[in-house]
């Protein structure tokens, strides 16, 4: 019942076996699994062979330079390629994550796997079909217009006996054909041939809910993860992090681990690790090793004054990308001004397992197996750190313990490479839980202030929304430069943060409207457990918790229904349709706000609305919550999500992706906050950094998918994340009449808000 997309599964299995056997320099098998005629063209984006291969049996390999992180975008890519080439989905194998086989399309990044990454695959598959039809035309003696293709068999219209298979036209050979490439790498990379892709009306595979074959390998325990990679002769390593932030090692007492077999210390400047032949010995050695660290400094504010710190901090950069009309004048002349501030804390990726990487660094080449979502950039970072050129380094992605942005995987890849270089052996490094939660790059804390002016009739005459917080990129979006990794920062590559923030993404048409941000300096300008980096939908939930809570506050002040209020100011019909779809599906009806019939007894009921946009994808969410008056517990019982991301490739995969977004965002809204004191981060495990547990999962998530076959597909891996937090807060207000403006919305904060209300 499940199609096994040969794809990732077989490749990974083979890749795993390959890993063990390939210890010889440069012994990278060709992507075709044999030696094809004509020699392999270089792996550059302007070669058709860099994207598509047709094997002798007629099956197709598509080489994808982005990544799937579990939501199944590789299945979607397979569907797209199958349609363009007119082959069955089962015959398309999507290869990704290996720098030896794929071009750098940016890895997993900003929900662009389909939005950006599929563009070149679509063009390349169309171009491959064009070439195959040209060859078939010659072979069959019929013009291309008279040819049809069915599952890789080309035949002449009306005479099905006159046919030839793709495999016989080119199987095992390279196309040797140039594409037009825009000379960009990463997300913006586009390469095209002469052929135009099909019209959406011609799709046969796109639009169907083809399941992920790799799921079976996961549930039968057959999938190899990066943590499972073993290389002959490898050492196990553990890294030592300073107990307090910003303190380097002063002395390391190597004799403290002399009783542990084979254990030894590897130190490079401020980077300290232990290695051993057996993993448990490495773990024990890391615990036993006596290190004297420099005396603690106090780089962090007291946690309870974090938001005061941000308010008072100097400004490193300021932008107001939205600035229409004269907001200040309109506020001055307004009948009524509403003013509110929202706060969002530091949050951790808290990936399911700590990062792991294996590296094998030789004199003139290196291999690294990594769970990073951007293996091409990891290759570049490794190359720079160990002093090789990037083409001498091969990075192979192997599924890791979850990835939602720039988590600790990027740090582990470079750790392993340096340790392999210093020991002369393959090295496997895996972090412990306290490093994974305590030392991963964090989603930034910030404050979000809204001001709005209403006239006497309750119309919005001014809207001002300003954020102030830490940049989202103390470390860059990837690890291509050692300065953006812990090991780099500990060995002589000082960090260089980029000042970048976010404004709300929506379509409210207010006559006088301004949205902007200010960034504040990092708390510690060296390797820091509170350095910021991209966490799923960077600054999306943070910003829109503020902006969509504030819209609700304005609606309430204007005495308007929250849905009607939004529709009054959102004129864009596509956006309005999404808002209406969520309201309709949830059975939203106008009634006074907050809920006058919130329920008797201790459980109060409420519903909240929120709507956002993200790079072309529009999402609206209704949350139905129960709030327990005594305990303060919030249970988000039901969500209704309307989602428009243009053309839908795989509806079921999309629904599951949205569910994951909603639940993770629910977790971030109700439970997650990185704790710290003046010297260190205190959130180091699942007790000190709790996430949602299954008793807090909703009862129901209803999803309305709005398919727009006429519009290009935009992303889905993140957009619904940003819509959820305000929907919850707005529902709590509806249920209780109390407005909670700080995340996480813990039972203590709910009780305090109820006491104030």
């Amino acid at each position: 019942m499940h199609h096994a997309p040969v794809s990732r599964r077989d490749f990974l299995m083979a890749g795993g076996a390959l890993v063990i056997s390939v210890m010889v320099p440069g012994a990278v098998r060709t992507a075709l699994g044999q030696t094809p005629v004509g020699g392999k063209p270089p792996l550059t984006p302007d070669e058709l062979d860099s994207w598509i291969a047709v094997l002798p049996d007629g099956s197709v390999r598509a080489f994808f330079g982005k990544m799937d992180m579990g939501q199944g975008v590789d299945v979607a890519i397979g569907q797209i390629v199958a349609d363009e080439l007119d082959v069955a989905f089962e015959r398309v194998d999507v290869v990704m994550g290996d720098t030896a086989f794929t071009c750098n399309q940016g890895g997993a990044s900003g929900s662009t796997a389909i939005q950006n990454g599929a563009i070149t695959l679509r063009y390349a598959a169309a171009e491959a079909r064009r070439v195959l039809l040209d060859r078939a035309s010659q072979k069959l003696g019929a013009p291309v217009e008279k040819l049809i293709v069915q599952d890789g068999v080309v035949s002449v219209v009306g005479t099905p006996d006159r046919n030839v298979r793709y495999g016989d036209l080119i199987g095992g050979q390279y196309f040797q054909l140039k594409l037009e490439w825009n000379k960009r790498y990463g997300n913006p990379l586009v390469a095209k041939g002469q052929a135009l892709p099909k019209k959406p009306s011609e799709y046969k595979v796109v639009g169907h809910s083809i399941p992920q074959g790799v799921v079976a390998d996961k549930v039968y325990g057959k999938l190899r993860y990066v943590t499972d990679i073993k290389v002959e002769g490898m050492l196990h390593a553990r890294v030592l992090r300073s107990p307090t932030a910003g303190c380097g090692p002063v002395t390391v007492d190597e004799s403290s681990i002399s009783s542990i077999p084979g254990a030894r210390v590897i130190r490079e400047k401020e980077f300290v690790a232990v290695v051993a032949e057996h993993e448990w010995d490495a773990v024990r050695a890391a615990r036993a090793l006596k290190v004297t660290w420099a005396p603690p400094c106090t780089p962090f504010p007291a946690m309870e004054s974090l938001y005061d710190h941000i308010r008072q901090a100097s400004v490193t950069g300021r932008e107001a990308p939205v600035n229409q009309g004269d907001v200040e004048a309109a506020l001055k002349s307004a009948h009524r001004v509403i003013d509110a501030e929202y706060q969002w804390p530091f949050q951790s990726h808290a990936s399911m397992g700590p990062a792991c990487a294996v590296a094998d660094v030789r004199v003139d080449h290196a291999t690294v197996w990594t769970g990073t979502q951007k293996p091409h950039f990891a290759r570049d970072g490794v190359a720079k750190l160990i002093g090789l050129s990037p083409e001498k380094v091969r990075a192979t992605w192997v599924p890791g313990p979850g990835s939602y942005g720039r988590n600790d995987a990027g740090d582990a890849a470079l750790d392993a490479a340096l340790l392999s270089k210093l020991t002369g052996k393959p090295v496997r490094v895996q972090y412990m839980r306290d490093e994974a939660t305590g030392w991963d790059p964090k989603g930034p804390a910030g404050i979000y202030r809204g001001r709005a002016g209403l006239d006497a009739q309750g119309n919005v005459v001014a809207y001002d929304f300003f954020a102030k917080g830490f940049t989202r990129q103390d470390v860059a979006t990837n690890e291509s430069d050692p300065k953006d990794t812990l090991v780099g920062q500990l060995t002589g590559y000082p960090p260089k943060p980029t000042v970048i923030f976010q404004v709300p993404a929506e379509a409210y048409e207010f006559a006088n409207k301004r949205c902007g941000w200010e960034c504040v300096p990092p708390l510690l300008e060296r390797a820091s457990p509170l350095r910021t980096g991209h966490l799923r939908d960077p600054l999306g939930p943070e910003t829109h918790f503020g902006s969509e809570s504030f819209i609700d506050e304005i609606a309430h002040a204007a005495g308007a229904d929250p849905v009607a209020f939004r529709l009054k100011y959102v004129k864009n019909p596509r956006h309005a349709a999404v808002i209406q779809a969520a309201a309709d599906k949830a059975g939203w009806s106008r009634r006074p706000y907050p809920n006058p019939r919130r329920g008797k007894g201790n459980v109060m009921l409420g519903r909240g609305f929120s709507y956002t946009e993200r790079n072309g994808t529009i999402v609206a969410v209704v949350a139905d919550v129960e709030v327990d008056r005594r305990s303060g517990r919030v249970w988000a019982k039901r969500f209704t999500v309307a989602h428009d991301c243009g053309l839908i490739i795989n509806p079921r995969g999309l629904e599951l992706t949205i569910e994951g977004n909603v639940v993770m965002a629910l977790s971030r809204t109700l439970f997650e906050e990185v704790k710290f004191d003046r010297e260190r981060v205190l959130s180091v495990d699942w007790t000190s950094y709790p996430i949602l547990e299954i008793q807090d999962a909703p009862e129901q998530i209803d999803i309305v998918l709005i398919n727009r076959p006429d519009l290009p597909a935009s992303g889905a891996g993140e957009p619904s994340t940003r819509t959820v937090p305000a929907a919850i807060a707005n529902a709590i207000f509806d249920a209780t009449g109390a407005r909670i403006r700080r995340v996480p919305i813990t039972p203590e904060r709910v009780r305090a808000a109820l006491a104030r209300a």
């Binding site: 799921v215 448990w280 993770m664 699942w686 299954i694």
Partner: protein, 155 residues
């Protein structure tokens, strides 16, 4: 200080030479190459390392290897195979539950024990039985559907 210890994993008996205090997880993964239980926290807080010991879901990351001598250890692979799948495995595939999938041992081996003891659990019983198991990708809705689907099928 190492000791020879016999482990019976997924029906096969193997000896390991190990520090008796070493957690079972390291014996399974590093010494025997049985990689299904994962290292998630080493603190029994997440469930990724779960195996069944004589049928009981057990966090192998904090279980000394010397404590499970001769006991029956079951990993995800021992729960069922593609030829003879456990109903939960069939349900997980039908519901397309995992995203990263790193947490599966905790959910599936815990839920399998629940279904064995309580073949028709209520929603509340499922949530109670699975308390303490973590999933970071947020696949909880699909997990609940899959456990209910498995309970509805013939074991």
């Amino acid at each position: 200080m190492t000791e020879r210890i016999t482990l019976v994993v997924d029906g096969k008996s193997t000896d390991v030479s190990a520090d008796p205090a070493m957690p079972l997880l390291y014996a399974l993964r590093s010494e025997l190459g049985l990689d299904n239980p994962k290292f998630g926290c080493g603190l029994a807080q997440c469930g990724a390392c779960t195996v069944q010991v004589d049928g009981r879901p057990t966090r192998s990351c904090v279980t000394p290897v010397s404590g499970v001598k001769g006991k029956k250890i079951t990993t995800l692979n021992g729960l069922g195979t593609s030829n003879r799948p456990h109903p939960l495995q069939t349900a997980y595939i039908a519901e397309q539950v995992p995203q990263c999938g790193y947490c599966l041992s905790g959910w599936m081996l815990t839920a399998a024990a629940l279904l064995r003891d309580t073949p028709k659990p209520s929603d509340k019983q499922i949530r109670q039985a699975l308390a303490g198991v973590k999933c970071r990708c947020g696949t909880h809705m699909a997990i609940l559907r899959a456990v209910k689907r498995a309970a509805g099928s013939k074991a």
